[in-house]
């Protein structure tokens, strides 16, 4: 549904046709006044066209020359930006980023496992096991006593043995 302003404009510009035209003209309260205003609008249009359409551009070639310079600068800047973009993207493509991330994670996990493994309390030394076995064998060493001093913080264990008749045959430090 056109507003009055739209219909009026279309009527002034002779864009109303057929039934729409007849209906609009019939709705005008003063057809003569409307026709006078239409004539005025035509005169206004002619005045504007006559007075404003002939404004020429001075130094046309200089205008184009300046524009070419700006476009050349623009193209160079765009090319530089594109090069930078390419360089950056060739260094850090998405697959490369993924591989780098996965490798970093793997190194971290290996390091963590190694460190945690080292921090676990040391298993009982094979030497201690052998000495203890020797002590508890009453045939070999009936009066043997073994004292053990352990400083866990420094990871040092001192075995003090007395009455040990012989070292076990499989003693590693023999």
């Amino acid at each position: 549904m056109k507003t009055f302003e739209e219909k009026w404009t279309a009527w002034l510009d002779d864009q109303l046709r057929g039934r729409e035209l007849s209906e609009f003209e019939a709705s005008l309260p003063d057809k003569a006044a409307a026709e006078a205003e239409k004539a005025e609008a035509k005169k206004l249009g002619e005045l504007l066209k006559r007075e404003l359409s002939a404004h020429s551009l001075a130094n046309e070639e200089f205008f184009s020359h300046r524009l070419r310079e700006k476009i050349t600068r623009e193209n160079r800047a765009a090319a530089r930006a594109s090069d930078r973009q390419t360089a950056t993207s060739s260094r850090w493509t998405i697959p490369r980023l993924l591989w780098a991330g996965a490798a970093s994670l793997a190194v971290f996990l290996i390091f963590t496992v190694a460190v945690m493994h080292e921090k676990n309390p040391a298993e009982e030394s094979q030497y201690l096991t052998q000495i203890l076995n020797a002590r508890v064998d009453p045939v070999v060493s009936p009066n043997a006593t073994v004292s053990m001093f352990e400083v866990k913080q420094d990871r040092v264990t001192v075995l003090w043995t007395e009455g040990l008749q012989s070292l076990p045959a499989d003693y590693a430090a023999k």
């Binding site: 404009t9 206004l44 249009g45 404003l52 359409s53 404004h55 551009l57 205008f63 184009s64 070419r68």
Partner: protein
Amino acid sequence: MQTEATLAQSDVSELDLVKRCQAGETEAFDELVTRYRTRLFSMIYNMVHSEQDAWDLAQDSFLKAWKSIGRFRGQSSFYTWIYRIVMNVTIDWLRKKQVRGGGAEFDDAIQLTEVDPASKTVPKKEALPHEAMERDEIRGRIEKAIAQLSPEQRAAILMKEIEGMQYHEIAEALGCSIGTVMSRLFYARKKLQNLLRDVYENV
């Protein structure tokens, strides 16, 4: 105005030029600039009434067109497309100028009676012949009257009356509906008729 045949012919070669521009050929763009520079400059000048500003705005518009020509899909004619860029650049500039100036140069609320239709707006230039002086005066009156319109109304009336564009072309160039264009034309004409009646009745 161009006939349909010449329009179709020029549109075909224009499309070809656009495609070459999209392939990065600055020479093709140069050709388009040569075709439209005067029309666009004249249009901008009629909007801003300053040669230097119109020159700069025309340069900005063409540069913007070059940068975004890759996005031109040929759904409208090239000249409608570039008019849209020109209008955006110019209306934006006018709005910023209004904000910087803090004034209401084209406030629609300005009363028409604030402008004395008989006022002399251009100083007399003694060196010019009588007819040229009279013409300068008329032109000054017209520019002053157009300056009373909002940027959108200015654009609509100038594209309609000077460029002879159709409603749908103006709507495309201004990015609004045809109804809005017609409404802007209605108010622009009313205002200009009030301000310039004595001019067009006596010329």
